[in-house]
Symmetry: C2
Subunit: 190 residues, 2 copies
Protein backbone atom coordinates (compact mmCIF):
# COMPACT_ATOMS: atom_id res chain seq x y z
CA UNK A 1 0.00 0.00 0.00
CA UNK A 2 0.97 3.65 -0.43
CA UNK A 3 1.64 4.30 3.23
CA UNK A 4 4.23 1.57 3.63
CA UNK A 5 6.09 2.75 0.52
CA UNK A 6 6.82 5.99 2.29
CA UNK A 7 8.44 4.21 5.25
CA UNK A 8 12.17 4.00 5.54
CA UNK A 9 13.45 0.45 5.17
CA UNK A 10 14.52 0.02 8.78
CA UNK A 11 11.26 1.54 9.99
CA UNK A 12 9.30 -0.98 7.94
CA UNK A 13 11.33 -3.80 9.45
CA UNK A 14 10.70 -2.54 12.97
CA UNK A 15 7.04 -2.23 12.23
CA UNK A 16 6.91 -5.79 10.96
CA UNK A 17 8.67 -7.03 14.08
CA UNK A 18 6.22 -5.17 16.29
CA UNK A 19 3.25 -6.63 14.46
CA UNK A 20 4.74 -10.09 14.70
CA UNK A 21 5.26 -9.86 18.43
CA UNK A 22 1.79 -8.38 18.87
CA UNK A 23 0.31 -11.39 17.10
CA UNK A 24 1.91 -13.78 19.55
CA UNK A 25 0.49 -11.62 22.32
CA UNK A 26 -3.02 -12.03 20.98
CA UNK A 27 -2.58 -15.73 20.39
CA UNK A 28 -1.58 -16.30 23.97
CA UNK A 29 -4.45 -14.14 25.18
CA UNK A 30 -2.32 -11.38 26.68
CA UNK A 31 -3.28 -7.74 26.43
CA UNK A 32 -1.41 -5.58 23.97
CA UNK A 33 0.95 -3.80 26.37
CA UNK A 34 2.94 -1.52 24.13
CA UNK A 35 5.96 -1.16 26.42
CA UNK A 36 6.33 -4.92 26.76
CA UNK A 37 5.84 -5.47 23.05
CA UNK A 38 8.59 -2.93 22.39
CA UNK A 39 11.02 -4.75 24.62
CA UNK A 40 10.20 -8.11 23.12
CA UNK A 41 10.48 -6.79 19.58
CA UNK A 42 13.85 -5.26 20.42
CA UNK A 43 12.83 -1.70 19.63
CA UNK A 44 12.38 1.41 21.73
CA UNK A 45 9.04 2.20 23.28
CA UNK A 46 8.71 5.34 21.21
CA UNK A 47 9.02 3.32 18.03
CA UNK A 48 5.95 1.31 18.92
CA UNK A 49 4.00 4.42 19.90
CA UNK A 50 5.04 6.12 16.67
CA UNK A 51 3.57 3.33 14.57
CA UNK A 52 0.57 2.63 16.77
CA UNK A 53 -0.41 5.48 19.07
CA UNK A 54 -2.70 3.27 21.18
CA UNK A 55 -3.23 -0.44 21.77
CA UNK A 56 -6.51 -0.07 19.91
CA UNK A 57 -4.75 1.17 16.79
CA UNK A 58 -2.50 -1.88 16.87
CA UNK A 59 -5.48 -4.15 17.45
CA UNK A 60 -7.29 -2.66 14.51
CA UNK A 61 -4.23 -3.13 12.37
CA UNK A 62 -4.09 -6.80 13.33
CA UNK A 63 -7.76 -7.28 12.58
CA UNK A 64 -7.69 -5.54 9.22
CA UNK A 65 -6.86 -8.51 6.95
CA UNK A 66 -9.75 -10.51 8.34
CA UNK A 67 -12.09 -7.58 7.92
CA UNK A 68 -11.07 -7.18 4.32
CA UNK A 69 -11.59 -10.89 3.69
CA UNK A 70 -15.04 -10.67 5.19
CA UNK A 71 -15.88 -7.61 3.14
CA UNK A 72 -14.78 -9.36 -0.04
CA UNK A 73 -16.83 -12.43 0.85
CA UNK A 74 -19.83 -10.21 1.50
CA UNK A 75 -19.55 -8.54 -1.88
CA UNK A 76 -19.39 -11.95 -3.53
CA UNK A 77 -22.45 -13.07 -1.56
CA UNK A 78 -24.35 -10.04 -2.87
CA UNK A 79 -23.62 -11.13 -6.43
CA UNK A 80 -24.50 -14.75 -5.74
CA UNK A 81 -27.46 -16.28 -7.53
CA UNK A 82 -28.66 -18.05 -4.42
CA UNK A 83 -29.06 -15.14 -2.04
CA UNK A 84 -29.98 -17.17 0.99
CA UNK A 85 -26.88 -19.29 0.62
CA UNK A 86 -24.89 -16.11 0.20
CA UNK A 87 -26.25 -14.72 3.43
CA UNK A 88 -25.63 -17.95 5.24
CA UNK A 89 -22.07 -18.14 3.99
CA UNK A 90 -21.41 -14.54 4.99
CA UNK A 91 -22.68 -15.17 8.49
CA UNK A 92 -20.75 -18.41 8.84
CA UNK A 93 -17.54 -16.75 7.74
CA UNK A 94 -18.13 -13.82 10.07
CA UNK A 95 -18.68 -16.16 12.97
CA UNK A 96 -15.66 -18.33 12.25
CA UNK A 97 -13.45 -15.32 11.68
CA UNK A 98 -14.40 -13.90 15.06
CA UNK A 99 -13.73 -17.20 16.79
CA UNK A 100 -10.39 -17.61 15.08
CA UNK A 101 -9.24 -14.02 15.52
CA UNK A 102 -9.76 -12.38 18.90
CA UNK A 103 -8.69 -9.04 17.42
CA UNK A 104 -11.63 -9.04 15.03
CA UNK A 105 -14.19 -9.66 17.74
CA UNK A 106 -12.70 -6.93 19.91
CA UNK A 107 -12.70 -4.40 17.08
CA UNK A 108 -16.30 -5.15 16.12
CA UNK A 109 -17.35 -4.78 19.75
CA UNK A 110 -15.67 -1.43 20.29
CA UNK A 111 -18.02 1.54 20.08
CA UNK A 112 -15.35 3.70 18.43
CA UNK A 113 -12.39 3.06 16.23
CA UNK A 114 -8.95 4.62 16.30
CA UNK A 115 -8.26 4.23 12.62
CA UNK A 116 -10.16 5.78 9.72
CA UNK A 117 -9.81 2.71 7.53
CA UNK A 118 -11.35 0.59 10.26
CA UNK A 119 -14.33 2.91 10.53
CA UNK A 120 -14.74 2.54 6.79
CA UNK A 121 -14.52 -1.25 6.92
CA UNK A 122 -17.01 -1.58 9.76
CA UNK A 123 -19.43 0.68 7.92
CA UNK A 124 -18.95 -1.36 4.78
CA UNK A 125 -19.61 -4.65 6.59
CA UNK A 126 -22.74 -3.22 8.15
CA UNK A 127 -23.89 -1.95 4.81
CA UNK A 128 -23.26 -5.31 3.16
CA UNK A 129 -25.29 -7.05 5.84
CA UNK A 130 -28.11 -4.55 5.39
CA UNK A 131 -28.18 -4.98 1.63
CA UNK A 132 -28.13 -8.76 2.00
CA UNK A 133 -31.04 -8.57 4.39
CA UNK A 134 -32.97 -6.21 2.14
CA UNK A 135 -32.63 -8.50 -0.85
CA UNK A 136 -33.27 -11.73 1.00
CA UNK A 137 -36.30 -10.07 2.53
CA UNK A 138 -37.54 -8.96 -0.86
CA UNK A 139 -37.49 -12.59 -1.93
CA UNK A 140 -39.60 -13.49 1.08
CA UNK A 141 -37.05 -15.57 2.90
CA UNK A 142 -36.89 -13.46 6.00
CA UNK A 143 -39.22 -13.43 8.97
CA UNK A 144 -41.42 -10.39 9.42
CA UNK A 145 -40.29 -7.63 11.69
CA UNK A 146 -36.56 -8.06 11.34
CA UNK A 147 -34.73 -4.85 10.48
CA UNK A 148 -31.86 -4.64 8.05
CA UNK A 149 -29.49 -3.36 10.69
CA UNK A 150 -30.28 -6.27 13.03
CA UNK A 151 -28.29 -8.95 11.35
CA UNK A 152 -24.76 -7.74 11.91
CA UNK A 153 -25.10 -7.26 15.67
CA UNK A 154 -26.92 -10.59 15.89
CA UNK A 155 -24.00 -12.29 14.20
CA UNK A 156 -21.62 -10.66 16.66
CA UNK A 157 -23.89 -11.80 19.46
CA UNK A 158 -23.76 -15.37 18.26
CA UNK A 159 -19.98 -15.16 18.13
CA UNK A 160 -20.02 -13.85 21.67
CA UNK A 161 -22.31 -16.66 22.78
CA UNK A 162 -20.03 -19.16 21.12
CA UNK A 163 -17.01 -17.78 22.97
CA UNK A 164 -18.91 -18.06 26.25
CA UNK A 165 -20.01 -21.58 25.47
CA UNK A 166 -16.54 -22.66 24.42
CA UNK A 167 -15.09 -21.20 27.60
CA UNK A 168 -17.41 -23.49 29.54
CA UNK A 169 -16.67 -26.54 27.38
CA UNK A 170 -13.69 -26.13 25.05
CA UNK A 171 -14.12 -29.62 23.63
CA UNK A 172 -17.54 -28.99 22.14
CA UNK A 173 -16.60 -28.90 18.47
CA UNK A 174 -20.11 -28.53 17.09
CA UNK A 175 -21.11 -25.64 19.29
CA UNK A 176 -20.51 -22.80 16.87
CA UNK A 177 -22.49 -24.54 14.14
CA UNK A 178 -25.40 -25.24 16.47
CA UNK A 179 -25.49 -21.61 17.51
CA UNK A 180 -25.34 -20.39 13.94
CA UNK A 181 -28.12 -22.80 13.00
CA UNK A 182 -30.24 -21.34 15.76
CA UNK A 183 -29.67 -17.86 14.38
CA UNK A 184 -30.46 -18.91 10.83
CA UNK A 185 -33.58 -20.73 11.95
CA UNK A 186 -34.58 -17.68 13.92
CA UNK A 187 -34.47 -15.31 10.99
CA UNK A 188 -35.61 -17.52 8.12
CA UNK A 189 -39.17 -17.98 7.03
CA UNK A 190 -40.14 -21.62 6.71
Amino acid sequence: MAASTKLRKDAALNRARIVEVAETYLESGRQLQLNDIAREAGVGVATVYRHFPTPEALLEHLARPRMEELEAAGLVALESGDLWRGLEGFLRLGLQAQLADPALAAVLAAPEHADARTVELVASLNSIAMRLVARVKAEGYLVEGLEGADLFPLMCGVAYAARLGLAADPHDAGLADRFLDALLLGVRVR
Copy 2:
Protein backbone atom coordinates in the same frame (compact mmCIF):
# COMPACT_ATOMS: atom_id res chain seq x y z
CA MET B 1 -27.49 -11.46 56.11
CA ALA B 2 -25.19 -12.86 58.76
CA ALA B 3 -22.08 -11.13 57.47
CA SER B 4 -23.54 -7.64 57.75
CA THR B 5 -24.71 -8.26 61.32
CA LYS B 6 -21.11 -8.70 62.33
CA LEU B 7 -20.15 -5.29 60.94
CA ARG B 8 -19.70 -2.37 63.21
CA LYS B 9 -22.27 0.35 62.69
CA ASP B 10 -19.87 2.90 61.17
CA ALA B 11 -18.34 0.24 58.94
CA ALA B 12 -21.78 -0.67 57.62
CA LEU B 13 -22.46 2.98 56.85
CA ASN B 14 -19.18 3.34 55.00
CA ARG B 15 -19.89 0.21 53.05
CA ALA B 16 -23.29 1.51 52.04
CA ARG B 17 -21.77 4.81 50.92
CA ILE B 18 -19.19 2.96 48.84
CA VAL B 19 -21.84 0.84 47.17
CA GLU B 20 -23.95 3.91 46.47
CA VAL B 21 -21.09 5.75 44.81
CA ALA B 22 -20.14 2.62 42.86
CA GLU B 23 -23.66 2.45 41.48
CA THR B 24 -23.44 5.97 40.10
CA TYR B 25 -20.13 4.95 38.52
CA LEU B 26 -21.75 2.07 36.70
CA GLU B 27 -24.70 4.15 35.64
CA SER B 28 -22.48 6.73 34.04
CA GLY B 29 -20.46 3.99 32.38
CA ARG B 30 -17.22 4.69 34.24
CA GLN B 31 -14.95 1.89 35.39
CA LEU B 32 -14.96 0.99 39.05
CA GLN B 33 -11.77 2.77 40.13
CA LEU B 34 -11.52 1.98 43.81
CA ASN B 35 -9.34 4.94 44.78
CA ASP B 36 -11.69 7.41 43.07
CA ILE B 37 -14.73 5.77 44.60
CA ALA B 38 -13.09 6.07 48.02
CA ARG B 39 -12.51 9.79 47.57
CA GLU B 40 -16.04 10.38 46.34
CA ALA B 41 -17.54 8.34 49.15
CA GLY B 42 -15.50 10.30 51.67
CA VAL B 43 -13.66 7.28 53.05
CA GLY B 44 -10.05 6.17 52.97
CA VAL B 45 -8.79 3.97 50.16
CA ALA B 46 -8.09 1.14 52.54
CA THR B 47 -11.70 1.09 53.64
CA VAL B 48 -12.84 0.37 50.12
CA TYR B 49 -10.19 -2.30 49.65
CA ARG B 50 -11.13 -3.89 52.95
CA HIS B 51 -14.75 -4.31 51.88
CA PHE B 52 -14.04 -5.17 48.25
CA PRO B 53 -10.54 -6.44 47.58
CA THR B 54 -10.88 -5.98 43.83
CA PRO B 55 -13.11 -4.08 41.43
CA GLU B 56 -14.54 -7.44 40.38
CA ALA B 57 -15.67 -8.19 43.92
CA LEU B 58 -17.49 -4.87 44.02
CA LEU B 59 -19.01 -5.50 40.62
CA GLU B 60 -20.24 -8.90 41.71
CA HIS B 61 -21.72 -7.37 44.81
CA LEU B 62 -23.61 -4.85 42.70
CA ALA B 63 -24.88 -7.55 40.37
CA ARG B 64 -26.01 -9.90 43.11
CA PRO B 65 -29.59 -8.67 43.65
CA ARG B 66 -30.35 -9.00 39.96
CA MET B 67 -28.87 -12.48 39.89
CA GLU B 68 -30.99 -13.54 42.81
CA GLU B 69 -34.10 -12.15 41.14
CA LEU B 70 -33.30 -14.06 38.00
CA GLU B 71 -32.67 -17.25 39.95
CA ALA B 72 -36.00 -16.90 41.71
CA ALA B 73 -37.79 -16.27 38.43
CA GLY B 74 -36.13 -19.33 36.96
CA LEU B 75 -37.27 -21.53 39.80
CA VAL B 76 -40.82 -20.26 39.34
CA ALA B 77 -40.59 -20.97 35.61
CA LEU B 78 -39.57 -24.54 36.37
CA GLU B 79 -42.75 -24.99 38.40
CA SER B 80 -44.93 -23.31 35.81
CA GLY B 81 -47.59 -25.37 34.10
CA ASP B 82 -46.82 -23.89 30.70
CA LEU B 83 -43.15 -24.74 30.37
CA TRP B 84 -42.58 -22.94 27.11
CA ARG B 85 -43.98 -19.71 28.52
CA GLY B 86 -41.79 -20.25 31.55
CA LEU B 87 -38.71 -20.58 29.41
CA GLU B 88 -39.67 -17.55 27.37
CA GLY B 89 -40.23 -15.46 30.48
CA PHE B 90 -36.93 -16.54 31.97
CA LEU B 91 -35.07 -15.57 28.83
CA ARG B 92 -36.89 -12.26 28.54
CA LEU B 93 -36.10 -11.36 32.12
CA GLY B 94 -32.48 -12.38 31.70
CA LEU B 95 -32.18 -10.21 28.63
CA GLN B 96 -33.84 -7.18 30.18
CA ALA B 97 -31.85 -7.53 33.36
CA GLN B 98 -28.60 -7.51 31.42
CA LEU B 99 -29.64 -4.46 29.43
CA ALA B 100 -30.71 -2.61 32.56
CA ASP B 101 -27.74 -3.59 34.68
CA PRO B 102 -24.28 -3.40 33.14
CA ALA B 103 -22.83 -5.12 36.20
CA LEU B 104 -24.84 -8.25 35.52
CA ALA B 105 -23.71 -8.55 31.93
CA ALA B 106 -20.08 -8.06 32.98
CA VAL B 107 -20.29 -10.68 35.70
CA LEU B 108 -21.91 -13.25 33.42
CA ALA B 109 -19.24 -12.62 30.79
CA ALA B 110 -16.31 -13.04 33.17
CA PRO B 111 -14.62 -16.43 33.01
CA GLU B 112 -13.93 -16.42 36.74
CA HIS B 113 -15.57 -14.92 39.76
CA ALA B 114 -14.06 -13.30 42.82
CA ASP B 115 -16.82 -14.21 45.20
CA ALA B 116 -17.98 -17.70 46.20
CA ARG B 117 -21.64 -16.70 46.29
CA THR B 118 -21.39 -15.44 42.73
CA VAL B 119 -19.91 -18.72 41.56
CA GLU B 120 -22.84 -20.44 43.21
CA LEU B 121 -25.39 -18.15 41.58
CA VAL B 122 -23.93 -18.49 38.11
CA ALA B 123 -23.90 -22.25 38.49
CA SER B 124 -27.48 -22.16 39.66
CA LEU B 125 -28.60 -20.03 36.72
CA ASN B 126 -26.89 -22.36 34.31
CA SER B 127 -28.46 -25.34 35.95
CA ILE B 128 -31.92 -23.76 35.82
CA ALA B 129 -31.48 -23.05 32.13
CA MET B 130 -30.39 -26.63 31.54
CA ARG B 131 -33.32 -28.08 33.41
CA LEU B 132 -35.72 -25.81 31.55
CA VAL B 133 -34.27 -26.93 28.26
CA ALA B 134 -34.39 -30.58 29.23
CA ARG B 135 -38.04 -30.39 30.16
CA VAL B 136 -39.11 -28.26 27.22
CA LYS B 137 -37.23 -30.66 24.98
CA ALA B 138 -38.97 -33.63 26.52
CA GLU B 139 -42.27 -32.05 25.57
CA GLY B 140 -41.07 -31.76 22.00
CA TYR B 141 -40.96 -27.99 21.81
CA LEU B 142 -37.29 -27.69 21.09
CA VAL B 143 -35.48 -28.06 17.80
CA GLU B 144 -33.27 -31.09 17.38
CA GLY B 145 -29.60 -30.80 18.11
CA LEU B 146 -29.70 -28.09 20.71
CA GLU B 147 -27.83 -28.93 23.89
CA GLY B 148 -29.04 -28.06 27.35
CA ALA B 149 -26.00 -25.94 28.09
CA ASP B 150 -26.53 -23.89 24.92
CA LEU B 151 -29.36 -21.72 26.08
CA PHE B 152 -27.69 -19.64 28.72
CA PRO B 153 -24.78 -18.49 26.57
CA LEU B 154 -27.19 -17.85 23.72
CA MET B 155 -29.23 -15.58 25.96
CA CYS B 156 -26.07 -13.70 26.93
CA GLY B 157 -25.19 -13.47 23.25
CA VAL B 158 -28.55 -11.93 22.45
CA ALA B 159 -28.04 -9.42 25.26
CA TYR B 160 -24.66 -8.61 23.79
CA ALA B 161 -26.14 -8.20 20.34
CA ALA B 162 -28.80 -5.92 21.78
CA ARG B 163 -26.16 -3.75 23.43
CA LEU B 164 -24.32 -3.49 20.12
CA GLY B 165 -27.49 -2.67 18.26
CA LEU B 166 -28.57 -0.09 20.79
CA ALA B 167 -25.15 1.53 20.64
CA ALA B 168 -25.70 2.03 16.93
CA ASP B 169 -29.27 3.27 17.33
CA PRO B 170 -30.26 4.14 20.90
CA HIS B 171 -33.78 5.13 19.85
CA ASP B 172 -34.76 1.71 18.61
CA ALA B 173 -37.13 0.70 21.39
CA GLY B 174 -38.25 -2.58 19.86
CA LEU B 175 -34.80 -3.92 19.20
CA ALA B 176 -34.39 -6.13 22.24
CA ASP B 177 -37.76 -7.77 21.64
CA ARG B 178 -36.98 -8.42 17.99
CA PHE B 179 -33.69 -10.03 18.94
CA LEU B 180 -35.30 -12.18 21.59
CA ASP B 181 -37.98 -13.24 19.13
CA ALA B 182 -35.29 -14.31 16.72
CA LEU B 183 -33.71 -16.44 19.43
CA LEU B 184 -37.03 -18.01 20.44
CA LEU B 185 -37.90 -18.70 16.83
CA GLY B 186 -34.48 -20.23 16.38
CA VAL B 187 -34.86 -22.75 19.15
CA ARG B 188 -38.54 -23.61 19.01
CA VAL B 189 -40.04 -26.36 16.94
CA ARG B 190 -42.98 -25.21 14.84
